[in-house]
């Protein structure tokens, strides 16, 4: 049985690797709208089916697996498992009677059907992961989640219009009790003034004010006023897509740079821009969004540090 586990692990790894690599896409097949979890469940179901077929003649397969040197053909395609099994079967024909050989050949046919379906599911799954941005290798999605919200004065804000109206939008996440966040508010205001000339803006999102909590909005306004920050601060519903996005942030302040198409310009900056070198890092993304060669804003906080 150890062999089984070894083989299945090897295959699972091949699948996982294949899901990450960019395989030539097959003609688009319309899958019904499924969530990622449902997709995962469907894939598991197919795997279970596959194990079911193998289990039917477990003893015979085990006899073959004992001879196997565990090498799986490296090119991943829709018949990798059945090809592997077929090779193994032909190589060690002498271990089986004709009847047994026939039974296993039939099993391989069944497996081929299952794994073709599995292959398609994996392809779609990989695509879904890429689109949703929950791929663990890179948790930053490509576009900023769309939202309908309000600024702290109660004016409606629509994310599409907001981003489209600016050449670059610097989105800063903060909350009232976060002292490094509050400390950088005046610098962010200065950045906003500089960006205005370039057609950009700084936007604050205070996670305490999500869902329009009036007490928190009052407090946030007071803090902004005391720090002399006049740029727009907005909130949206915490159970929205953007709300979930905000809820995943691990450290505050976190700052995203978004271009006019709503695209996020790389990894977010974690930590205040008032720290030495941080503004330089932010500027790289800002002028990438602006499509300019020139650094739009001088870092006055100090020289970059290693």
């Amino acid at each position: 049985m150890k062999k089984w586990i070894g083989l299945l692990l090897a295959l699972a790894m091949v699948f996982a690797l294949a899901a990450c690599s960019k395989e030539p896409k097959k003609p688009e097949e319309k899958q019904p709208e499924l969530t990622i979890d449902e997709m995962q469940a469907k894939i598991d179901e197919q795997f279970d089916k596959l194990y079911g077929v193998l289990e039917e003649h477990e003893d015979l397969w085990n006899r073959l697996f004992e001879q196997s040197d565990d090498t799986v053909n490296e090119t991943y395609d829709e018949s990798i498992i059945s090809t592997y099994l077929k090779t193994l079967l032909e190589k060690h024909k002498e271990l089986l009677s004709d009847e047994e050989h026939k039974a296993l050949t039939e099993d391989i046919e069944k497996i081929l059907v299952i794994e073709k379906e599995l292959y398609e599911l994996e392809e779609t799954y990989a695509k879904m992961l890429e689109e949703s941005g929950v791929n663990q290798e890179n948790p930053t999605p490509e576009t900023f989640p769309a939202f309908q919200g309000k600024d702290l004065d109660g004016n409606e804000v629509d994310s599409a219009a907001l981003f489209a109206g600016n050449k670059v939008t610097v989105v800063n996440f903060w909350f009232n009790g976060c002292s490094p966040c509050v400390d950088e508010l005046d610098e962010l205001n200065e950045l906003n003034e500089q960006l205005k000339e370039k057609g950009g803006a700084v936007i604050g999102i205070n996670t305490d004010t999500l869902d329009g909590n009036p007490a928190m909005i009052d407090e946030a306004k007071k803090i902004l006023e005391q720090k002399g920050a006049a740029y727009q601060n907005i909130w949206f519903a915490s159970d929205s897509e953007a709300g979930n996005f905000a809820g995943q942030i691990l450290g505050f302040p976190t700052t995203y740079v978004v271009d006019s198409n709503g695209k996020i310009m790389g990894e977010p900056l974690m930590g205040g821009i008032n720290y030495p070198g941080m503004l330089d890092l932010l500027n790289v993304q800002i002028y990438e969004a602006l499509g300019e060669n020139e650094v739009p804003y001088e870092d006055t906080a100090g020289s970059p540090q290693s």
């Binding site: 948790p139 009790g177 509050v182 400390d183 977010p268 974690m270």
Partner: protein, 302 residues
């Protein structure tokens, strides 16, 4: 009573493991690189366990205390202090010995077979932890503030090795945003963590003895805690095995409720006559002693 005490002492390692798991129950978060943020985080766990540990079920009492002390809205953290006093009265430093994940971590390291060093001569260092509690946890967060009256959690920010072990390292491993944000502070605290880890191999629980502000707080409650050590003077043969077995450098026969006693029960296990046990509940030591005397005398006269 001695039977139960011996069982507790014998299975302490397992109790510590279970306590660690319960304190960090959200295990899948370790792989997701996320932090649990549900209602569990509105209360704090008894031991020193970082809020930012992906698995953490509750907040860290020391972290939460500083967060409130440093906030511009509040002057003092009554809620956390209340919880800590309650825990102190209910269990005292039993929490250090049985429930604290960082204590367990140090003990596991101490199991590495190397020559061990005694901390008997380093007793003055014990008082350092009270300074850490007073200065880094209470005073600095409350007094060093920005123009809006907001302070920093100085202990978490500059000293706590548990934050690096449970928070920074696991999060940085799976989250590249965090990884990118690691800087000088991380290097400094990683240095502290490594130092504590190395010292833990050589000494028994160096962090608990010398630095831990939470241990310092609970230490103050050992004397009034409902859980105490009790030495039956009639059974005691003054062999001194308990004092030699104690890795916290306490002589339980002289000071059964010493501030350094973490109720680990090594003396209970070492006592050849079964004279030492845990006692839980109200009542003063004197009364119990007298009861014991009467009982033993009664037994003898029969």
């Amino acid at each position: 009573m001695n039977g139960i005490s011996r069982i507790l002492a014998r299975f302490r390692g397992w109790i510590q493991a279970v306590a660690f798991l319960l304190t960090n129950i959200h295990l899948p978060n370790f792989f997701k690189g996320q932090i649990y943020r549900g209602t569990g985080k509105t209360v704090c766990v008894p031991g020193l366990n970082c809020y930012s540990c992906p698995g953490a079920a509750g907040a860290c009492p020391i972290g939460a205390f500083q967060a409130v002390m440093g906030s511009s809205k509040f002057r003092f953290s009554y809620y956390i202090t209340g919880i800590l006093i309650l825990l102190g009265v209910l269990l005292g430093r039993f929490i250090c010995g049985f429930l604290c994940p960082f204590g367990w971590f140090q003990e596991l390291l101490h199991k590495i077979p190397t020559p061990k060093l005694s901390t008997r001569r380093l007793k003055p260092l014990r008082y350092l932890k009270y300074a850490v509690l007073l200065v880094m946890v209470v005073l600095l967060p409350a007094l060093i503030t920005n123009d809006l009256g907001m302070g920093n959690p100085f202990f978490c920010k500059y000293l706590c090795p548990q934050g690096v072990l449970e928070g920074a390292i696991p999060l940085a491993l799976v989250n590249n945003g965090i990884r990118a944000a690691l800087g000088k502070l991380f290097t400094w605290k990683l240095g502290i963590l490594i130092t504590v880890a190395v010292l833990s191999v050589l000494f028994y629980r160096p962090f608990c003895k010398w630095l831990c502000p939470l241990g310092a707080f609970y230490a103050l409650f050992n004397r009034v805690s409902l859980l105490q050590m009790q030495v039956d003077k009639n059974k005691c043969v003054s062999c001194g095995k308990c004092a030699r077995a104690c890795k916290m450098d306490v002589d339980v026969t002289k000071h059964p409720n010493h501030t350094e006693c973490i109720r680990c029960g090594m003396c209970v296990k070492a006592c050849p006559t079964g004279a030492i046990c845990y006692r839980y509940g109200f009542g003063t030591e004197k009364e119990t002693k007298m009861e014991n005397n009467q009982m033993t005398n009664g037994g003898l006269s029969e």
